[in-house]
Symmetry: C2
Subunit: 341 residues, 2 copies
DNA sequence: AGTGGGTGTGTATACGTATACACCCACCGG
DNA sequence: CCGGTGGGTGTATACGTATACACACCCACT
């Protein structure tokens, strides 16, 4: 008896609405998208479409408009709390422009992630996981596909947005040096990770400027478990550092936990600092001293740059640096008394 | 001169490949998708498609196959670390089936999120944020749209997967009661959040069974900041509890932090327990006693149930309960000496 | 030599939408 | 009274892919 309004069949189309309303499909499309349609007709069409539970087919629409309103976002590790916070900001910025986020986790290389995003014909891609020399990114840039690197800088000729790593690194070094620390260790990401590389360079430069000994650097790839092991080795080895800087909060927490497991009091015998100012850093139980990244601003600028490039792919690449700020909490303190033999 | 292999133009299509290979578009499609094609022809087509940087248009494909290979996932709060961990599991399960995840954050109601997912014609939706009586979910179920509720149970007639909340809650109560606690407070989610409701019911039941006084319950909506305020009020009020149970780890951490800010030692003067066993719970600096949810299994079963329903939408609704397990760490201890006047 | 089946290919069509174009009608100014 | 204008609508087409169908072969078997 009639076609079932509630059933398993395929979803209603604009043609179904047209038939029900006694108009052409074109008029339905116009009514739904704000074209010139008689008020009465539009009213009728809207009513029917609501009654039928009509939902426009994004695929069909994108075929003719050649725009999807989707923006790809590639992250390297969702469980690093930095990313969820960043993604919420990104999603908010996109939402304001009626765009949506297509998230891809690129744990094992970004080739697959990019491939999927291209198949979905996203309007552009925001990378937060680009590794120096990523073939995937290079390929996109060569094709003039809209790409923004957020919190990452690669020499590829595309737009980038990052915190002021040199300034942040200098602030950490100044803070620790001011507390008397001289044996400073660093937990870094992989050598190819540009964020890590730039923060590390900033630390090295400042140490050199102040005539302080070089830092011991362990590359853990920002992997939590490896960072815990590295910190444990540092603390139980021959000349333990009096301060450990994690190049993101995730590994700084790892250092904190390694110290706790070993019974090393923080900050009495060990100072720890990080980068990002993730939400947990401000927890009283953790109280991590860290370099805050301007999350909201980074997200906003990333989305803005991307959309500008979508509208005009011939733009020259731009590089934006946003201010970063040291937040001192309770994991850093004066260098402990040396108790050499 | 010639068509630019590297340029800003629209991406190459299967027709472009056909033209270059001197075949029909149909043969290209067959060659790319494993149809019967002469070996030599297939080879030539693959070479050309690689050379042109061809990427199939998912929209066009989905129009004819009426399958997108996309699965919608709705979460309520990405910054609750439970979700990133869960999403990684989900993504892994989907990847094994060559499906992909379309993530939606439903902070302010799930209507908009569902609408977008429907427009994208996802094959099905996994909800981790369904609130009791969600109109959006009810509508989907009525239309027989494939839906799975993970870690949520609503009386809507759809598939659900959840941890064993009653057992978990009983284990927490037994543990605390065994330590001598009698004044137990609970930080709960909103009344409509089914996970919260079921865990709370479990706690109440077990307290009653053991003849213990009723728990004081504060509904914070699983919001971190509100949970901190609530815990602070509990601890500074007239009859402070000796134990606080957070109905997820997020709010348990909030209690921990409130205690730390007030200088209340844990577990000496206050015991704290949570639900989920998020990664941070095992950190030595936090060491949260909590009820572990079987994350990987929940993800696997959710994806499996969803796909079974995609293949056969007429299936009767199924409800799976997976074992949960109490993990005792360092935030719970014996009830402190009563120091009444 | 004729039939049958299998292999490789081309032709044609469908999916659902937006939009260029043509058309009709009512109205208004000259 | 007529040409123009503009609002409202229908017709036709394009987007890129998968696939049903038809067809042209070639080989093997009776």
């Amino acid at each position: 008896m009639g076609k079932p309004p509630v059933g398993a069949g395929r979803p209603p189309t604009s043609v179904d609405i047209a038939r029900a309303a006694g108009t052409s499909q074109a008029t339905v499309s116009r009514a739904l998208n704000g074209g010139r349609v008689a008020a009465a007709t539009r009213e009728r069409i809207l009513a029917i479409s609501r009654e039928l539970g009509y939902t426009p087919n994004a695929a069909a629409r994108s075929m003719v408009t050649s725009r999807t309103g989707l923006v790809g976002v590639v992250v390297s590790d969702l469980t690093n709390p930095f990313y969820p916070e960043f993604l919420e900001e990104i999603a908010a910025c996109l939402g304001a422009r009626r765009q949506h986020m297509l998230l891809q986790n690129a744990a094992g290389g970004d080739e697959d992630a990019v491939e999927l995003l291209l198949q979905q014909r996203v309007d552009g891609i925001v990378f937060t996981a680009a590794v120096e020399g990523s073939a995937a990114v290079a390929g996109l840039v060569a094709r003039r596909f809209p790409v923004v690197l957020a919190n990452r800088v690669v020499d590829a000729g595309c737009d980038t947005v990052e915190g002021d790593h040199p300034a942040g690194a200098a602030a950490v070094v100044d803070h620790l040096a001011g507390l008397g620390h001289r044996r400073i260790a660093v937990l870094a990401g992989l050598p190819g990770a540009s964020t890590s590389a730039r923060r590390l360079a900033g630390i090295r430069d400042r140490l050199a400027e102040r005539g302080l000994p070089e830092a011991r650097v362990v590359e853990t790839g920002f992997d939590y478990d490896r960072a815990v092991r590295a910190a444990t080795e540092l603390l139980t080895g021959p000349h333990p550092p009096t301060a450990i800087v994690g190049l993101n909060d995730q590994v700084a927490f790892a250092a904190l936990n390694a110290a706790a497991a070993l019974g090393v009091p923080v900050p009495a015998r060990l100072s720890v600092a990080g980068f990002d100012d993730v939400r947990q850093a401000s927890w009283p139980t953790l109280g991590l001293t860290t370099v805050r990244q301007p999350l909201a601003a980074m997200a906003a600028r990333s989305v803005a740059l991307l959309n500008e490039r979508v509208d005009d792919p011939s733009l020259a690449p731009r590089h934006e640096v946003l201010p970063a700020e040291l937040v001192v909490r309770s994991t850093t303190g004066p260098r402990p008394e040396a108790r050499e033999p």
